[in-house]
């Protein structure tokens, strides 16, 4: 095939995503840089300097600290879980494997509300007085990222050749010795990849810290939001964003390396699974303990959320909270009906997932067809929004898109666009491998049979990639539905989504508001669950 024309087609495919990400990601980020470094048109490092003094330093430290502890805890709980799901065969294994992923796709606001219901005043563990506290944040982070560790580590572990372990045992190494000197090194690439991903997610965690940390505990993310929304101090917010950006670009570089080693390790694996039934009492105990942890860690918060949404303050069963879903709440701020917000959320999520699939899909085709540096650069550029926090996207929109040539201030379209920007990297990750996997002979066979390049795309590439595109659409929809970090900045009274409404309800004093927040969270969880059930969670990759 004519090489030059191929390159031209690839460039044309890439044009839409490059333009979209350029306008709705790079330009806003550049605008933040401008605000932070050139507040009055000339270079001024004052605001950036202030970040490293006083309270701001504490925030940077706290951000790192909570991310480090969260990651360590998630690994401590998740690695045994990965063992149980990769090496042990038991009844219901498939269902457990699918259920374990559910928390990861739940909206952060729902997770935060569930932990508040569990650990906060009036909850089953309310007497511990853990909301707000670091402990509540850590618990929610472990809940949220457990799936990442289990899935990433298990997918390597289930294909490790057990004979090397058996050889070590025969040679006289004990169980612990064998695990430390044989198994752990073999799992290292997967553990490194999981560590990098979880650290990145918890470092940029927004909704959970905002709701469970209260005003006392701030990370970079929540502080950027507070400085913008409460204090209207855009200069400080921009400076904080710069620190956040720098940290995340550094983290992404490390993540990229870890991911690459992990991918190599995965290619080396055998194809047969080595899971077997528990044989010794010790194995049965370990398996039971892991299933118990999964049940309690993953089940308790969600069960509490559902149960408490059905109870009045005196403990009687009631649907009052759900009746409140179609009422306008008046307090210090007026909060629109949660049901109307739910309808808005669904509308925006549909729009966002269409945008994400079109833009992300085109990008995936360009990346899969392209060779060498330009394809890798496009891949990297499109992965950026995934790591660079949603808060950066939202704040960037606020700073950049409020003046000509792009004056979209207050426009509702910003909400689905922001959600799409957050979802695009996941679509690219879901679709690119599927396109790469298409046998090039199929395209050549179609060409020889008389199909032109566009026809081949339509008749070969598109139908084969359809499954992956639908998967991407499902994820995008779920992400957009629960998106909070970016939406919190750009939602306006007419364009409030359900997560934003739930957050507002939590901040509203007055009896019944928390109950309605619980009920609204259950509704949001249910809509997300339907979207995820339709999609195939088994194929989710990180």
């Amino acid at each position: 095939m004519d090489r030059r024309r191929g390159a031209l087609t690839t460039a044309a495919l890439a044009a839409v995503p490059v333009l979209f990400v350029g306008v709705f990601f790079a330009y806003p980020v550049a605008a933040i840089l401008g605000r932070g470094l050139f507040p009055d048109g000339s270079l001024d490092l004052g605001a950036l300097g202030d970040v490293f003094r006083g309270r701001q330093v504490e925030i940077v430290w706290f951000t790192l600290q909570q991310a480090t502890i969260s990651t360590a805890l998630t690994l401590a709980v998740g690695i045994p879980g990965a063992w149980a799901l990769s090496r042990m065969r038991f009844r219901g294994r498939r269902i457990v494997r699918a259920l374990v992923v559910v928390p990861f796709v739940l909206p952060t606001v729902v997770v935060a509300v569930a932990f508040r219901a569990l650990l906060g005043t009036g909850g089953p563990l309310g007497s511990l007085d853990l909301v707000p506290s670091l402990w509540a944040i850590l618990a929610a982070h472990v809940f949220f990222n457990y799936a990442v560790v289990v899935r990433v580590v298990a997918s390597l572990w289930e294909h490790l050749d057990p004979s090397t372990e058996e050889a070590a045992r025969v040679l006289g190494a004990g169980r612990v010795r064998t695990f430390v000197s044989i198994t752990l090194p073999a799992l290292a690439p997967a553990i490194a990849a999981a560590t990098a991903i979880v650290f990145l997610f918890t470092f940029a965690s927004f909704g959970i810290v905002l709701i469970l940390g209260g005003p006392g505990l701030s990370t970079l993310e929540t502080e950027i939001y507070r400085q913008t929304a409460l204090f209207l101090d855009l200069r400080t917010a921009a400076a904080l964003t710069l620190v956040q950006l720098g940290a995340i670009v550094a983290l992404l570089t490390v993540t990229g390396r870890a991911q690459q080693r992990y991918a190599t390790a995965q290619r080396l694996r055998a194809t047969t699974s080595i899971a077997r039934r528990a044989r010794t009492a010790g194995e049965r105990l370990a398996l039971g303990a892991n299933l118990l942890v999964m049940g309690v860690l993953l089940g308790a918060p969600l069960a509490t959320l559902a149960l408490r949404s059905l109870r009045s303050t005196d403990g009687a069963l009631t649907l009052d909270a759900y009746r409140g879903l179609d009422e306008v709440r008046r307090g210090p701020v007026v909060i629109a009906e949660p049901l109307a917000a739910a309808a808005t959320s669904i509308r925006y999520a549909v729009l966002a997932s269409v945008l994400a699939v079109v833009v992300g899909g085109l990008a995936a085709f360009a990346i899969a067809r392209g060779r060498g540096r330009s394809a890798r650069m496009l891949d990297g550029a499109l992965a950026l929004p995934l790591g660079v926090s949603a808060v950066t996207v939202g704040f960037g929109f606020l700073v950049a898109l409020d003046s000509p040539p792009l004056d979209l201030r207050g426009s509702w379209v910003l909400v689905p666009i922001a959600q799409a920007v957050v979802a695009i990297p996941l679509v690219v990750r879901a679709v690119t491998p599927a396109i790469r996997a298409i046998d090039p002979h199929l395209r050549e066979a179609a060409a020889v049979l008389g199909a032109g390049p566009r026809r081949i795309w339509r008749e070969v590439d598109l139908p084969i990639a359809r499954r992956a595109l639908l998967l991407g659409a499902g994820f995008s929809f779920a992400i957009a539905l629960g998106e909070f970090g970016a939406t919190a900045f750009v939602a306006r009274p007419g364009s409030t989504t359900l997560p934003v409404t739930i957050y507002r309800l939590l901040g509203q004093p007055g009896p019944g508001n928390f109950g309605v927040a619980l009920a609204a969270s259950v509704v949001l969880m249910a809509i997300t669950a339907v979207a995820i059930l339709v999609t195939d969670t088994e194929r989710l990759s990180f």
Partner: protein, 231 residues
Amino acid sequence: MLELRGVTVRFGAATVLDAVDLTVGGGEVVSVLGPSGSGKTTMLRAVAGLEPLAGGAILRDGRDLAGVPPHRRDVGLMFQDHALFPHRDVLANVAFGPRVRGAGHAAARAREMLDLVGLAGFDGRGIHELSGGEQQRVALARALAPAPSLLMLDEPLGSLDRELRERLAVELRELFTRLGLSAVFVTHDHDEAFAIGDRIAVLSDGTVEQVDTPADLWRQPRTELVARFLG
């Protein structure tokens, strides 16, 4: 008529085809015989327009094909791995060519081809439900369906067992004769090459060692290499 004049193909620094000359007349079947890695597949791909030439020219009825994209070359190519479309059933695979060329009655034409290769009634079957031999027949039917003026087959019988291969080689030869097709048949198996080809081109390391009728090739192998390869 197909004519290769000094056709050269390079993959990076490696020369895969080195100044290959070959002519295939109207209604003639030429077997291309050579060990694996000798450039047989590359030669077919070059004729189909799937590999760019580093030198030389490929002519159809005197017209240079340079710059003509694969979908306008009017050749049929049967891939070694068949390359059947996994997302389409048997009928849709065979009907693909006539359909994208805008021919009417694509489905009828496809059924006719399936009949020809002995797979009548396989219309709605999925590709993965087929045996190796059945896949091979579908691939043949698909390559024949657009009625190309030249058919090229890349080790079409490679994956089948000995007995089936011998039987199918005879069937293929009869089919080519009946349809009056020009064909290039690539194989690494002498028996197949001799059973099918009007003439045989022996390819080695990207160069044509000898082109002759089976009888002449057998009687007087021109180089020691050819002699050794034929045993």
